[in-house]
């Protein structure tokens, strides 16, 4: 059974880059006009025509929700849909086995797999939990040799897997690894050397090891088909000369995101080779060594001005603000700007942002303070997505941004659809104002970093603020709550959050009622992640009617017991109920540290590590 997509999730969880890999892009298989490989009863002519027509028509169906629905109409629709599905999305790699997937979908060109749950990013799950790409690549290598695109999120990928990928799929074109780990430069080296048709290699927020293999050098000589090369997460130097030669022989290169080991001088050299770039990650944006007095510094301004197609800028990993004016020429064209690694002040931001009239996506550090946010609000009227990250990610640090900047954004950026905001203080009034000013909000994630912190003006819980969001933002599908919250907030969510698909809860609520409200009230709920909240077994039971409709439920440091989880496991055979303890805990406790449960066609997985107990 194919999983539901969450659009908001896709868009919001990756950095502001254009992932072309969406199901909206029509990927048509070669249509032969005949239904192939059928060994069934030869139907009379009209039905055959109908089958052909169906196949042709279904090729144009791209949305996987529509496809899932179509496949339920009848057996022949099921079959034809399976034959024509070219993009396969599996939201939880354990929900279905590779064998089952490849048996049903035989002509898949693109595979999109997601593994670990999101809270694993915050060290809430011991490493080596699972989500191995290996069984998938082996199965697909045998069954779908036409596979050309693989997109993985939070999966473990080994060097061997990368080698298999390169060797088994001639004509492999795109590899995107988001939040993955388990591989190193030697795997990359084999991969790039064998994939002669490679167009996209995107390593995003992934952890890879330095086996001291020069993978950039391993790209084949001669003209390359590369359109996108993203490696800003690589935490060690690369061979710059080889990179320069690679860029010079990649005329189709549109997206290039460098890591912090590329200096601004080196960036210059690349930019003059590739003025056709649309997406650029600028690396460190500082010089590697001091330019001695009298040394000529390259003309960065001209280099940027020459990149007339540049719409997406990121990087600035070790920024020396003196170099910022270099980007003035392209500000007016920018639709996406990622300053989330650039510790700059409001004064340094203002001259840039005042020219960014077309900006739609903006990621930034709170070093710009409320004043910086006010400047954003004044200019960026087209803003759709804002993320404000903390420079100092601790609970008791000073917060340079507050409800003041938040309010300014809500008043200036009326088209806002997605916000992620880290702060130390907030008020209900500001949140209520945003719910009214920005009715198009689809994603609302507010993180008040001090746990249980109330409205800092009134001292009240933040219930009313979040209540207003679910009430007024009728398109809301993703919500993350924080601050001091009573059960009342969850009552609101259950009552009004009818479209909510993803909900993140931490240090909130008073009793089981909170979780009950949500489980009983939100019919679209797919992904629920909860930590450190006082919800127990009774609350867990109130969701039995809904768990088969969800992708997963995560609850850590709550009040669950083994008995309670056991009850759920017995009541719902198609649910995999994993109890995860920390890696150094020997025995099973009465209390459950972490519950991770998900629907699955396959039953308990056979690759679970010792610290996971499947009930």
């Amino acid at each position: 059974m194919a999983e539901q997509m969450s659009d908001d999730d896709e868009r919001q969880q990756s950095p502001p880059s254009d992932l072309d890999f969406t199901s909206n892009k029509a990927r048509t298989c070669i249509v032969t006009g005949s239904v192939s490989g059928h060994t069934e009863f030869q139907s009379p002519y009209p039905d055959q025509v109908l089958g052909n027509v169906l196949e042709n028509v279904l090729h144009f169906l791209t949305s996987r929700r529509d496809r899932n629905t179509a496949s339920l109409v009848c057996k022949s629709w099921y079959r034809v849909e399976a034959l024509t599905r070219s993009e396969l999305f599996i939201g939880n790699c354990y929900a279905v086995s590779p064998a089952r997937a490849t048996a049903r979908f035989t002509r898949v060109r693109a595979l999109h797999l997601k593994g670990k749950p999101r809270f694993a990013d915050f060290n809430l799950m011991p490493p080596d939990w699972g989500a191995h790409f290996n069984p998938w690549v082996l199965a697909f290598a045998k069954a779908c040799p036409w596979l050309e695109k693989v997109y993985l999120k939070r999966m473990s990928v080994t060097d061997d897997d990368l080698a298999t990928l390169a060797e088994s799929f001639l004509g492999f074109k795109e590899l995107v690894l988001v939040c993955c780990d388990g591989f190193g430069t030697s795997g990359l080296a084999i991969f790039v050397s064998k994939c002669r048709q490679l167009k996209v290699l995107d390593l995003i927020d992934s952890e890879l090891s330095d086996d001291e293999t020069d993978w950039i050098l391993c790209f084949p000589e001669g003209e390359s088909h590369l359109e996108s090369l993203i490696f800003d997460c690589v935490e060690f130097p690369i061979n710059f000369e080889a990179l320069e030669r690679l860029v010079a022989r990649s005329p189709s290169l549109k997206k290039l995101r460098l890591n912090q080991y590329v200096s601004i001088g080196q960036l210059y050299r690349l930019m003059v080779q590739a003025p056709q770039l649309t997406h650029l990650g600028t690396g460190s944006f500082s010089p590697s060594e001091i330019a001695g007095q009298g040394d000529q510094e390259p003309d960065y301004v001209t280099a940027f001005a020459a990149c007339k197609s540049l719409i997406c800028l990121s990087g600035f990993r070790e920024i020396i603000p003196d170099y910022l004016p270099a980007i003035y020429p392209i500000c007016a064209n920018l639709t996406s700007l990622n300053f989330s690694y650039a510790n700059i002040t409001a004064e340094q931001l203002k001259p840039i942002i005042s020219n960014c009239h077309k900006l739609q996506v903006f990621w930034v550090l709170d070093s710009i303070c409320d004043e910086g946010l006010q400047a954003v609000a004044a200019t960026c009227k087209e803003l759709r997505e804002l993320r404000v990250f903390p420079v100092d990610a601790r609970e008791d640090s000073d917060g340079p941004v507050s409800e003041v900047g938040f309010l300014a954004i809500s008043e200036g950026c009326r088209k806002l659809q997605s916000i992620l905001y880290f702060c130390q203080r907030m008020t209900n009034a500001a949140v209520i104002a945003m719910s009214r000013n920005c009715p198009d909000l689809v994603v609302f994630r507010l993180c008040i970093m001090g746990r249980h912190r109330p409205d800092h003006v009134t001292g009240e819980p933040m219930d009313d603020g979040f209540g207003a969001i679910v009430m007024n933002c009728k398109k809301l599908t993703r919500l993350a709550v924080s601050g001091l919250l009573t059960d009342k907030a969850f009552d609101y969510i259950g009552r009004y959050g009818k479209l909510v698909r993803t909900l993140s809860v931490a240090f909130a609520g008073d009793s089981d009622m909170a979780l009950k409200y949500v489980l009983e009230g939100c019919p679209q709920l797919q992904k629920l992640e909860i930590r450190d909240s006082p919800f127990g077994d009774a609350a867990l039971c109130s969701g039995l009617h809904h768990y088969y409709n969800m992708r997963f439920l995560w609850m850590s440091s709550c009040r669950l017991t083994h008995q309670g989880c056991q009850q759920i496991a017995h009541a719902m055979p198609r649910l995999v109920v994993e109890v995860i303890r920390s890696a150094d805990e020997e025995e099973m406790d009465v209390c459950v540290q972490t519950l991770y449960m998900y629907r699955s066609l396959e039953g308990p997985r056979n690759d679970a590590p010792k610290f996971v107990t499947i009930l």
């Binding site: 690694y341 420079v391 240090f507 008073d510 440091s557 920390s582 009465v590």
Partner: protein
């Protein structure tokens, strides 16, 4: 290029200190590998797992970190909170370390025997080796290796600096951050004169 060291949680200034001591001696890195709330879970009854959750009732006792009545757990760093990926936390910590007030930190550099002074921007460097290499390039001389005991003994030149108090100090003794914030000017002394300093 130095390899960055990733730590799960806190800022780790010790990692950037210039010192030739054996690794592991004299360091007091806070090791926070285990989740405090996991330890708190080891109870026989399903109780509140999170220490400060008694505050989650409607009475507002935690209005901020200045609140004297709040028990210490309010300030205790909890694993995975705030929800920022370690990679991002680490990148930001290192960029914060490099942040020095103001735009550029130009200091005069004099070399014994040279007819005129130069100026360099200390902010451009992240470590002693980088700075020393730049000085060597700029003045075409060799400074050699630093040792805690011997200073720059054995090399032709020794780099010194004038600190905030007006004293002349040997470059390399204090952590980089401290050096950056206290260095007023640099003087590269001829080896023969510098030997006196090394014997302290």
């Amino acid at each position: 290029m130095e390899r960055r060291v990733n730590y799960e949680n806190d800022l780790n200034l010790m990692a950037t200190e210039l010192s030739l001591g054996l690794p592991g001696c004299g360091d007091d890195e806070p090791q926070r590998k285990t989740n405090p709330s996991i330890r708190n879970n080891k109870r026989t009854a399903p109780e509140i797992s999170e220490v400060s959750s008694s505050e989650s009732s409607s009475s507002i006792t935690m209005s901020g970190s200045d609140d004297q009545d709040s028990p210490p757990p309010a300030k205790e760093q909890v694993v995975g909170w705030p929800p920022i990926r370690s990679y991002r936390k680490n990148c930001l910590q290192s960029s914060k370390r490099n942040e020095v007030e103001g735009m550029g930190m130009y200091v005069k550099v004099s070399v014994d025997g040279a007819p005129y002074l130069r100026k360099i921007d200390l902010k451009v460097y992240r470590s002693y080796p980088q700075l020393l290499k730049a000085l060597e390039n700029m003045f075409k001389l060799t400074i050699g290796a630093y040792s805690k005991r011997e200073g720059y003994n054995g090399s032709d030149y020794a780099p010194t600096y004038e600190d905030k108090d007006g004293d002349w100090m040997l470059v390399g003794d204090v952590p980089w951050e401290m050096f950056i914030s206290s260095c007023k000017r640099l003087r590269i002394m001829k080896g023969s004169e510098a030997r006196g300093l090394g014997c302290v």
